[in-house]
Symmetry: D2
Subunit: 284 residues, 4 copies
């Protein structure tokens, strides 16, 4: 039976976890658990793997070999409040279901994002898309925050005035800035959520979306701890070397000496140990 | 809060509902309810529609106007056992998650579909893809069932023999017939499930898949009765007239006399009544 | 052979069609034609339908019966420049491929949308999401345009200044308004494009996205004229009556007298005529 | 302009490439080229990368960093004839468009797959899903081929007889074996095609689908040679080490001595060299 009680997960249901200055994530509902992954995998792979003690091993095997479909059997639904420029990055993940607050139906609230001064950084010099690791001059930060404050207030008071003058909402809102907060319900399966997390936990992702991803990663861990551990070991903390790189690394790796039982002693499962030996052999 | 208790739905969880001679459908899990549809819609459409008494009206409005995304917020997971020729039609619905029994990993069981004699029919003369409404000659039915029985037994005993001779399972199975049963876990959201049901409840769908669809439609009704009623009224029992047809029907429809309050008296909601009047006006 | 020359379509390739004040649509590439739809359908339906003269009939049959997969065999790629608030509606169509200009990599250009005064309207009183059909007071229009002009200039000059001060682009841009233009390549198959067009040509769609849809509908017509005609007849100009509505309309429709040959004389194909008679019979 | 002439690709259009005993793949149409990938990427990444000489570098960068969306801008349409058991594996790739021959509409042809004796192998002992590398006993091969031949003939002659007796095609076909050939049109974008190829070129994929994948990989190379080279270097020939594996490999890799210019001298691009150094540094 895959429908198991998960009191820890139920405890965070509907709880609001704050992100940025006015944003949040709430886990509204979920379906499934580590057990649901195992259950679905076993319909494919049959009876050979039935011992309960082997559940963790099976989940790790599935993750390692990118057998992704059993992870699709777990589903999550979040309620998220987020600035529009973050929403525009987020929505690029197409295999998900969304219901967003509509500025055509509703009057938007006066809630805008202003970054912490700590997060206002210069353009990165080695990363075309990101911000630098060093701080921006204090004066620049101060001026930017002042500007944001003032222009957001202006934009909102004008919006409010024009809506008050009975201008259609769908037109009145077009000059609101990308820092405006919006809200949505967002539903996604675990496989696609892992894909989202891999991209959005990456140091190259924009800081603001990364902060959402970090909180969601913790929530997911409450629902599926074993799958999340496998995701960290085999995806997040993995490194991929290309064919040309391996040509060059070959010599270093050929000095590798450990045998299977030593690998197991150092923490790999028997299956992982065999696979590592096989990978290294392929390089020779 | 969208996570409501639904004892009626929980009662059928994991219960096996038989279909065909060896097939079944089981509802393994579900997420959401009519309330989850309303909850997601309200994040889009805002506060104007908040009265609880208006939930049914809102769901019907969403269905009528093909605002489909809130229906995606409800999710179903089924365990299904079905003949391979049915599975091949079913899998064409791509927006779903599947884990199927693999004939490469597992030895298939000796379970084949044999239609009831009542369902063994001649080719339809007016429907290129289907069977006729009249019965096939008794003798033909008998011969076909005999043939199926014999050839399925032959196929399975040969399969078993070759697997016993250690022939690879993935090769040994290639001569098993399309009437062989397979199994899968199948997960889908309510919007896409309605799409599946609309196509597979249709009289043009092959009878065998229709029988699965009928049972699943009942299950879905237990989870989301209001959405299902709307689906029946606005999709299943609707009729669409094309532009050229309406040109021709115009005269008949222009004789239509009822006013809004009479329409409401005959069962339409106020919104539906207004929309019907508008539709008819468009035709004039 | 489905790869046919289409000089009319090739003529518009890469041509810029203006939309709004600074936007455009360009058809960058396409794959397939009416012939490609027919070719794919015939692999399913076999040899019965082979006469060339029957191509139009087949396409219309497919559309009428929502056999949508052959329409997926035609593909379009557009280059579009559009305000961000339009892009946010557009991107909800998930079954498409997108590459958008990134404000993290590039400095955005000073191009903002300002509606024609003619399109600045009051809130609609009977349509929660749209604008009214009557004009807004002249003074309101003038004030709104003035405001847009001024605030867009302010926003851009501040953006430019902060980027000049070496503030990270991904932060500097967060206060740019939703009226800012962005660009993308957008690729979609004909079935999903028809779905997009049906929703975005609808009078309830926001005017600004409708103007894009109208131009794209014309482009598609150049590539697949027969499919587009079928789309208009059976989707755009169709009317769907719900089960409860049909209960009420039944009496009017039962007065309908025309026979099959009269229906054909009035322009329906033989198949359509049969189907109309069948639909009306169902209602009795 | 992304619409470039590609005479080599046009030459193979519609050509039939044989696979297995009666199967084939034909490239029916394609849209785009390496240039289309570059064109779409540049709308995102802006003007910094404009030199034509840098096209190859950009494509390799995109592949290396899993910036997958520009690869979605190229589209392929194939006509494939394949045994049903292969079709059942193939159809699991959901992000594609399909039109398949229907056994409800058409009478199936007498074409069945019989493996070469060379490919009839015992069950693999170390791979639960596959066949062994050693040969099966000659006698077993012979018996299996004889059995296939005989039972396929029986199945088809019975099918033909029952269809001749006017039994509905959709019922008569249910006892045809999985070795029966079917046909379809299959359309997919390059990103998803690479995903298909990665899984289906893998030694763990069933031999029969692998043979299709190999021929398609060659076709794709004709259309997009640079993207395919990048796919081979960064995906097919790459090796991924998990977090726990890297813990163990760290010591070996820490002996790595080459500097950036030496890496470039050994064939890496400047960007790849920097990234390799960074990856290795991360491990320390």
């Amino acid at each position: 039976m895959a429908r198991v009680n998960n009191p820890k997960a139920d405890e965070i249901l509907d709880k609001q976890f704050d992100v940025l200055d006015h944003g949040f994530v709430r886990l509204i509902d979920y379906m499934g658990s580590d057990a649901a992954i195992v259950q679905a995998a076993r319909v494919s792979y049959g009876d050979g793997t039935r011992k309960v003690s082997e559940d963790r091993g099976l989940i790790r095997y599935l993750m390692r070999h990118r057998h992704t479909s059993p992870f699709e059997m777990v589903e999550f639904k979040f309620h998220v409040k987020l600035p529009i420029f973050v929403a525009r990055q987020w929505i690029r993940h197409r295999t998900a279901n969304v219901n967003e607050l509509s500025g055509r139906y509703s009057v938007m609230k006066e809630e805008f994002y202003i970054p912490d001064e700590d997060n206002i950084r210069p353009q990165s010099s080695d990363n075309k898309q990101g911000r630098a690791s060093e701080m921006a001059p204090e004066d620049l930060c101060r001026r930017f925050v002042e500007y944001l404050n003032k222009s957001q207030k202006d934009a909102y008071s004008n919006y409010q005035k024009f809506v008050g003058d009975d201008l259609a909402r769908e037109i009145a809102r077009i000059n609101l800035p990308l820092s405006l907060y919006t809200e949505w319900y967002w539903k996604i399966d675990l496989h696609n959520l892992f894909h989202f997390l891999r991209l959005r936990l990456d140091p190259h992702a924009q800081l603001e979306i990364r902060l959402y991803a970090e909180i969601m990663a913790d929530m997911v861990k409450t629902v599926c701890p074993v799958a999340c551990e496998a995701f960290e070991d085999f995806i997040l903390n993995s490194v991929t070397f290309s064919g040309p790189e391996l040509e060059i690394l070959k010599d270093s790796l050929s000095t590798f000496k450990l045998k299977k039982d030593e690998l197991v002693a150092r923490g790999l499962s028997s299956g992982e140990a065999t696979e590592l030996i096989r990978k290294l052999k392929r390089l020779k």
